[in-house]
Symmetry: C2
Subunit: 475 residues, 2 copies
Amino acid sequence: MQKITDPAKDFPQWYLDVIDAAGLADHAPVKGCIVFKPYGYALWEAVQRDLDARIKSLGVQNAYFPLLIPESILQREKDHIKGFAPECAVVTHGGGKELAEKLYVRPTSESIIYTMFAKWVQSHRDLPLKLNQWANVVRWEMRTRPFLRTLEFLWQEGHTCHATKEDADRMVTDALQMYVDCDRELLAIPVLTGRKPEHEKFAGALYTLSTEALAKDGKAIQAGTSHNLGQGFSEAYDVSYLDTEGKAQRPWMTSWGLSTRIIGTLIVTHGDAKGLRLPPRIAPIQVVIIPIYKSGPEQEQVLAACRKLKDSFTGIRVHLDDRDEKSPGFKFNEWEVKGVPLRIELGPKDLAKNQAMLARRDTGAKEALPLEALTPAHLQTLLEEIQSSMLAQAQQHMDLHTHHVSTYADLKKHIEGEGGLVWAPWDGELATAQKVQEETKASIRLLGEEPPEAGAMDAVSGKPAKYMAVYAKAY
Amino acid sequence: MQKITDPAKDFPQWYLDVIDAAGLADHAPVKGCIVFKPYGYALWEAVQRDLDARIKSLGVQNAYFPLLIPESILQREKDHIKGFAPECAVVTHGGGKELAEKLYVRPTSESIIYTMFAKWVQSHRDLPLKLNQWANVVRWEMRTRPFLRTLEFLWQEGHTCHATKEDADRMVTDALQMYVDCDRELLAIPVLTGRKPEHEKFAGALYTLSTEALAKDGKAIQAGTSHNLGQGFSEAYDVSYLDTEGKAQRPWMTSWGLSTRIIGTLIVTHGDAKGLRLPPRIAPIQVVIIPIYKSGPEQEQVLAACRKLKDSFTGIRVHLDDRDEKSPGFKFNEWEVKGVPLRIELGPKDLAKNQAMLARRDTGAKEALPLEALTPAHLQTLLEEIQSSMLAQAQQHMDLHTHHVSTYADLKKHIEGEGGLVWAPWDGELATAQKVQEETKASIRLLGEEPPEAGAMDAVSGKPAKYMAVYAKAY
């Protein structure tokens, strides 16, 4: 088994090592693309199952829109095309011929979806129209990293159309809350939420709300965003409806998405020097049973006891690692790297005492338990405890690395030290944010809901502050 | 509501009308691409749920491979590139620059997947390797039709790697049987199975097995295929493993797929003059409740009774159509077009008699039932009865339109008459199959497992027959 770099020494290399050693992904022939191996894809399937139910419970229906978008359609919203065109993959030939019009591989689907909305939305009775799609998108990124930033990634993108700004605002907030809930409840990832500053909002949006998690290396990382697109896209794609009085009105659009980047977020939030740590609710394998035996009569006894245990674990995702060619030590290591929350070890000595050893991946704690105590109910309780404990650990990490400063010196001290999320008063000027970014590589991740205290001055420029901003280095 | 063309007069137009009127799909800006509207996508989601469980029960794991395939990789298997290159979409620009190497949007993923297999498969212990992906693919088709033939479609593609031909044969057969079961059990579509003739097999395969359904217009339509790829792809992509004796061996590959074409198959198998008919197991809405009232005090009484009924239908996908602005007649028609298996009508007269009207979409039969008899258990029984009855109807249609001929005159008579599946002895010559195709537009869909009777002569050429072949016009 491959050695995993010490995360304290080289976090980026640790990240790559974990992905490789845990069998999550592999590099594809096209630079910047990855292959999702089964263990990595199973994490995405778990996110899909969880989030799909949440999306549907918001009254949103799934649909599917085409991969290829004609250039003329992508160009209709000017800010949007400016933001996305430089990172598009372009199809110029199809069926052996050069195409009359270039087709863009979707980098996001506002343009194609709102082209259809223009056709479908006619009356106030057609609103709200709330659709979602699970799809692949391509953005030509230069510096890529598996899951966190790849040329192609998988995501869901919700797109809705509303009669009023208030309705659209509510949708944007509901979608953001859905991400917060999924992040916390499924992935045990606490997140900060807020509005993006103008210069960081989605290309073409009125405003963008975002969730930010905090990686173990002190960098912020986005975990779901939600945009109120205002009426700009309605205008650009000529979507209108007749209100109850028969007057033509422009509807309000929203879009919101969460991508396979969340798998990277999961790794950098929970991983440790031994590899991946998976919260039980998302773990493809929640409990692994490892038989310990020497060849001979004890082998079948031990294996039989392990099989019996496994068969008794109704409702739990359990795996019995009965590979004969691998040693127990190899297996311990492998399943630790893969982040399986609970390990049960069973050898002839345990069997003689009618017990098994139970090891927790989150704390490393080991205890002997009588076999009759190893019930599905006990394991479920333990798995829920691990789930809560991992959320608490991550929350503690975030709390410990959240700072409030009023001077640039303090801002720099934190950013250049252990990183983390640093709140500071901001004057709302792009120039100020840019100066900080150039000098410290930290950007404004979110703006606080509360205004700065009366008389507060920008920590950097010394001018009157307009917002409380969270600065952080970010993925 | 739009009028649906009489299928007896113009089946292709009826097909388009049903898709439009039932709200299954819409045309996308790129010619030949469609948008899956929510009701159409829900059908695909049901297929995914059903088939994904079957795939996993065969020990196959889901993974995900990139959309974009470098030209050099697609070219390695010569028959494969010859078959697919002419229908590929080609990305020549990315990130604002012309690419050094063209990238093909995957038309199918053998080439990229086996490139990865070459890296992952080293020892006999790595076999069998059985992966599946749910993905979109693009093929530049000239004559397109929603669901049945589109530029982009959605599918699952299974790809497996085995130590022996016997293992690969078994996988190919198991995958085919899985499609047969899904077609019959979920979609109520009976299918014929068999091997494709050499000239119709998958580009690069050793042999192809296929399932063929029979549309109501007498045309055959593929509903899942499974290929034994032999060792050709192992050779081309340099996949090898060390056997138990440490000798390098070429593994055997299989691939198998089912696509959103199945939604088209569903429509042409079960639809009728009134529109779609959905088998209950796949129907997004199994029971629709339609309140009948005039404005006034009866309105709330009727609606309350309908809501009570709806809430009592545990475990059933039920919808209460309480739109006030549409008449009951409009609603009857709309839900018939959408193929909902059961309709419940409830008006003040019914309420006075403590009953409701129950209408079956499959037979059109209507009966009055006491409200207390409208239990979830009764509805479930009825839904299962409808499911079986639709399969039986489709099977009867197939039986009635399956013929056995020994002369070309009889073959032509059937093909040029009502169509259907026509069994005839075949000499195994491509020229013979081509002559029939040119003169009648019928192709050989499948070969029978049993050889022809001793001394049987080809129905067309008069030469000794090698196979029993099924001729049909096909989608």
